[in-house]
C-alpha cells in the first residue's frame, strides 16, 4: 500500500518535473522569472520543513541561514571576484558555521526558546549588515558582478535543476532511517532517547543539513538576481513567507513545501493588479488553509490516501 503510494507520488512528481522543464518553450521571460524565484523559495521552505516537520524545532529565522549564505557569496564575488561555484560553496560553509554557532547553544533550550533565539539571530544579522555597510552595502544592498545567466530560460533551468536535486536529497533523507529517528525525536524526545537515540545529535544534524541547503539556495538566488539586499534575503518578512509556504504545503512532507512556495509567489504575482490588496489576499488564503487544513495541502491529500 505504502509502496504503491510512494510510487504514485514518484510518477506524479516525474510528470510535474517534465512539464516544468518544457515550460520555457511557451512562457514569457517575465513568468519564467517569477517561477525561478519561486523554485529557490521552494528550497528554503523544504529545508525549513526538515527542521520543523521532522526534528520538531520551530526555526523562526530561516533567513538567518539564507542571509548568511547569500551575503557570504555576494561579498566574495563583489570584493574579490571569485568564481560563482567557489562563492556558492563559501555560502554553504558560512551558513553551516553560523548555524552551528547558533544551534549548539540554542538546542539546549526547551520549548519556544529555541524559536526565539533564531528570531533574534535574524535581527542581529540584519543589524550587522547595516553596521558594516562598507563591506555589505548596508541598507542599499550590493550588486554582484557575476550572474548565472542573462537568459531567463537558462536561469529557469538552473533553478529547476537545483530544486529537483535538493528535493531528491531532502526527500530521500526524510524517508531514510534518519528521517524516522528525527520524527521520533521531534514527537517524543524522551521516548526517542529511551529507544537509544542521541536526540541532540540528530537534531543538530538536521539543523546543519537545513543550514547548508538554505545557504546554497540563498547564494544561488543572489547570482540569479544580481543583487543582495536585506529586503530580499534577510528580512523577517521573507522568513515568515518561507514558514507559511512550508506549513501551507504540508508539514512533514518536504515536497509540499515546494507547492506552498510556488503558490505563494505565483499567486502574489498574479494578484499584482490588486495593488496593496494582493499580499493581503494571498496571506488570507494561506491563513484559511492553515486554519482549516492544519496538515497543509499535501499533508491533507496524503492523509486521505492513508485512510483509503
Amino acid at each position: 500500500m505504502n509502496r504503491f503510494l510512494r510510487s504514485r507520488l514518484f510518477w506524479i512528481s516525474l510528470l510535474v518535473v517534465a512539464v516544468a522543464a518544457v515550460l520555457p518553450l511557451w512562457l514569457s521571460g517575465y513568468i519564467l522569472g517569477v517561477l525561478t524565484a519561486a523554485y529557490y523559495f521552494g528550497v528554503f521552505a523544504m529545508s525549513w520543513d526538515l527542521l520543523f516537520g521532522f526534528a520538531g524545532e520551530v526555526n523562526f529565522g530561516p533567513t538567518f541561514l539564507i542571509g548568511l549564505g547569500a551575503y557570504a557569496a555576494a561579498i566574495l564575488d563583489n570584493q574579490w571576484g571569485l568564481p560563482i561555484p567557489v562563492c556558492v560553496l563559501a555560502g554553504a560553509v558560512a551558513a553551516l558555521v553560523g548555524g552551528l554557532l547558533l544551534a549548539v547553544p540554542a538546542l539546549r533550550l526547551r520549548g519556544p526558546y529555541f524559536g526565539l533565539v533564531t528570531l533574534v539571530a535574524v535581527l542581529l544579522l540584519q543589524n550587522a549588515i547595516v553596521i558594516f555597510a562598507g563591506v555589505t552595502g548596508g541598507e542599499i544592498g550590493m550588486t554582484v558582478p557575476d550572474v548565472l545567466s542573462i537568459d531567463p530560460g537558462v536561469n529557469y533551468w538552473y533553478a529547476l535543476a537545483f530544486l529537483v536535486v535538493c528535493a531528491i536529497l531532502l526527500f530521500g533523507l526524510s524517508r531514510s532511517a534518519i528521517g524516522l529517528i528525527l520524527q521520533a525525536s521531534g514527537q517524543d524526545a524522551i521516548e526517542a532517547q529511551a529507544l537509544g537515540f542521541n536526540v541532540t545529535k540528530h537534531k543538530l544534524a538536521a539543523f546543519c543539513v537545513s543550514a547548508v541547503f538554505s545557504g546554497v539556495a540563498g547564494a544561488m538566488l543572489i547570482f540569479y538576481m544580481g543583487t543582495a539586499s536585506v529586503d530580499t534575503v534577510v528580512d523577517i518578512g521573507i522568513g515568515v513567507q518561507v514558514i507559511i509556504a512550508a506549513v501551507f504545503g504540508g508539514r512533514r512532507t518536504i515536497l509540499g513545501a515546494v507547492l506552498g512556495a510556488v503558490f505563494l509567489i505565483v499567486a502574489s504575482e498574479l494578484l499584482r493588479p490588486l495593488g496593496q490588496l494582493n499580499t493581503f489576499v494571498v496571506a488570507a488564503v494561506a491563513l484559511a488553509v492553515i486554519l482549516f487544513f492544519p496538515d497543509g495541502v499535501l499533508g491533507y491529500a496524503l492523509r486521505r490516501g492513508e485512510r483509503e
Partner: protein
C-alpha cells in the same frame, strides 16, 4: 549464570528542591526475575524508574547494570547498554505503520546509515508476531485499540534485546482478558532471562506475576519480600489502608432541607450517535450531600458536564428554581455551581498560592484572606506547599488543591468528580476527613461522583447508582450496602 544481580541499585537519591523524592534506595533484580516496585502516589516509585533509565539524573547513588555503573549517563547510552522501558503514555509515529514503529527501535544511533540494514525488517516482523500484533502490523497506530498500542510499546522496549525491562503500570486501562495476555508476555520476558521491573500502585495488581515485591513510601523502601509477605507487612498495611473507614454519623441530616437546589428532569445527552445519559432525573436538596456512584464510563462526568453547561442536553435542569438552559458555563459557575473536574485542571506552572488566588479572584480582598485561612486549616499540607509549583505536587496534594481552588469560589453547590482517581488509600482517608469537616462546618451542598463506593458512602445523605447511562437505584447509604453492596462490581 553468575550470582551477581543483573541490576543493582545502591543508595539512589533524588531531590526536587526541598522534596526528597527518592532517598537512598537499594534494589536488586536477578536475570530471569520479576520485581514489583509498588507504592502509593508520590512515593517516588516513578522517579526511581526514571533515575534507572537516566531520564532524571540521580543526585547520589549507583545503578549497576551487569556490573557497570550507568548512574548519570544520558538515557540513550543507558538504553544502548541494555535497559528498555515501557512508558505508560507514549506518542507513536502516526504516519508510519506499526511495523515501521517497531523498526525504529531497531535502528542504529548513527547519522551515516541512511538505509535500513538487512534483517531489520524480518526481526521487526518477528517481534510484532511475538507480542500479538502480527495481524495489524501494516496498520497505522491511530486505527488500533488501546491494548494493541500498549503491545506496540512492549515490542519497542524489547526490540534491541535488553537485559533489563522497566514497565510503568503494566495493566492500566486494560480489560481482564488483556491483563491475562500481557501477564503472559511479561512472563515470557522472564523466561528469556531478562530482569523485569514492574512499577504499580498496589501489590494486588502485580501479585500473580512477580517473584518479589519492594514497597516504597516517601522515597524509601518500607518492605521487601514475596507478594504475600509484603501484603501482610504491618507498615505496608498502615500506609495503604490507614485506619478503617467507617460510616460517619449524620448530624447534618437535620440540616439538610427539603428545598431542591438542583433538579434534573429526564436529562439525556448524546455524543454523536452514542447515548451517554438516558432520561436521568435526580434531585439535590439544599445542604445535602449526594453521591452518584457508578463504574468508569457509566456517565457520571457527562452528567456533571451537562449541569455545568459544558455539553448540550435534552430535558430540563433547574438550579434554585430557575432553569440553567441557555446559560454559558461561566454564568452557571457565577451562580454558585462549581465543578471540580476529574482531571483536576490545575495551572501546573503556577504556585499553589497562585492557583488558589485565581479561584478567589472575584472575592473582595478581606473575604479572600478569610477563605484562604479556612482552606489552609482544612488542608494544612497546602499551607506548607504554598510556593511550590502545582505540577510538582503529588497526586493527592493536587487533588486537595483542586478541591480547595473550587472552594475558593465559595460555591453553593460543589460538584466533585472522582476525587479518588489514582490515589492511595492513605490519601483517601485524609480527603475523607476533609470532606467530613466540610460537611460539618459549612452550609455547602455537595454532589459527589465516585467509582469507589467505600469512599462515597460514609458522607452521603443519599446515593444514586448510575449504570450504562441510567439511574438504576436510589436510596440511603445503609440500604445501598444491604441491597447493592455485593452486586456493584
Amino acid at each position: 549464570m553468575s550470582s551477581r544481580p543483573r541490576l543493582e541499585v545502591r543508595g539512589l537519591t533524588k531531590r526536587f528542591g526541598g522534596l526528597v523524592a527518592v532517598n537512598g534506595l537499594d534494589l536488586d533484580i536477578a536475570a530471569g526475575e520479576i520485581l514489583g516496585l509498588i507504592g502509593p502516589n508520590g512515593s517516588g516509585k516513578s522517579t526511581a524508574m526514571k533515575l534507572i533509565m537516566g531520564i532524571e539524573r540521580p543526585d547520589a547513588g549507583a545503578v549497576r547494570l551487569a556490573g557497570t555503573d550507568v548512574a548519570g549517563w544520558a538515557p540513550h547510552r543507558i538504553a544502548r547498554a541494555g535497559i528498555g522501558i515501557v512508558f505508560q503514555h507514549s506518542r507513536p509515529l502516526h504516519r508510519q505503520t506499526v511495523l515501521e514503529n517497531i523498526k525504529l527501535a531497531l535502528l542504529p544511533d548513527s547519522l551515516l546509515r541512511l538505509a535500513v540494514a538487512p534483517g531489520v525488517d524480518e526481526r521487526a516482523r518477528a517481534i510484532a508476531e511475538r507480542v500479538g500484533l502480527g495481524a495489524v502490523m501494516h496498520r497505522h497506530p491511530s486505527t488500533l485499540p488501546f491494548a494493541d498500542l500498549r503491545r506496540m510499546e512492549l515490542a519497542k522496549a524489547i526490540a534491541r534485546d535488553p537485559k533489563v525491562v522497566l514497565v510503568d503500570e503494566p495493566f492500566a486501562g486494560l480489560t481482564a482478558a488483556e491483563v491475562r495476555d500481557f501477564s503472559e508476555l511479561i512472563r515470557s520476558f522472564r523466561s528469556d532471562g531478562r530482569a523485569v521491573l514492574l512499577v504499580d500502585h498496589n501489590v494486588k495488581g502485580v501479585a500473580a506475576l512477580v517473584d518479589r515485591v519492594l514497597a516504597m513510601y516517601l522515597g524509601e523502601r518500607i518492605a521487601e519480600g514475596s507478594a504475600d509477605a509484603v501484603m501482610q507487612n504491618e507498615t505496608v498495611r498502615r500506609v495503604y489502608l490507614g485506619g478503617k473507614i467507617v460510616a460517619v454519623e449524620r448530624p447534618a441530616a437535620a440540616a439538610a432541607t427539603t428545598t431542591p437546589l438542583l433538579a434534573l428532569d429526564a436529562v439525556s445527552v448524546f455524543y454523536g450517535k452514542a447515548q451517554a445519559l438516558e432520561n436521568v432525573s435526580i434531585e439535590v436538596r439544599e445542604r445535602e450531600f449526594v453521591s452518584i456512584v457508578g463504574l468508569n464510563g457509566a456517565g457520571k462526568t457527562t452528567l456533571f458536564n451537562a449541569v455545568s453547561g459544558l455539553v448540550p442536553h435534552a430535558g430540563r435542569i433547574s438550579y434554585a428554581g430557575r432553569p440553567l438552559e441557555g446559560l454559558a458555563p461561566a454564568a452557571i459557575a457565577r451562580q454558585g455551581v462549581v465543578q471540580c473536574p476529574e482531571t483536576r485542571e490545575l495551572f501546573g506552572d503556577m504556585s499553589v498560592r497562585e492557583n488558589l488566588d485565581l479561584g478567589g479572584q472575584r472575592l473582595p480582598t478581606a473575604v479572600r484572606a478569610t477563605q484562604l485561612d479556612w482552606l489552609f486549616d482544612l488542608f494544612p499540607i497546602l499551607k506548607s506547599r504554598q510556593r511550590q509549583m502545582a505540577r510538582t505536587l503529588s497526586g493527592g496534594e493536587q487533588q486537595m488543591l483542586a478541591i480547595a481552588r473550587a472552594l475558593m469560589m465559595q460555591p453553593k453547590l460543589l460538584i466533585l468528580d472522582e476525587p479518588t482517581l489514582g490515589l492511595a488509600p492513605v490519601i483517601l482517608e485524609q480527603l475523607s476527613k476533609a470532606l467530613d469537616r466540610l460537611r460539618q462546618s459549612t452550609a455547602i451542598t455537595v454532589l459527589l461522583g465516585e467509582q469507589n463506593v467505600t469512599f462515597a458512602l460514609p458522607h452521603a445523605d443519599r446515593v444514586y447508582l448510575l449504570e450504562h447511562a441510567r439511574i438504576i437505584w436510589e436510596g440511603d447509604p445503609a440500604r445501598f450496602a444491604r441491597e447493592m453492596g455485593t452486586g456493584y462490581l
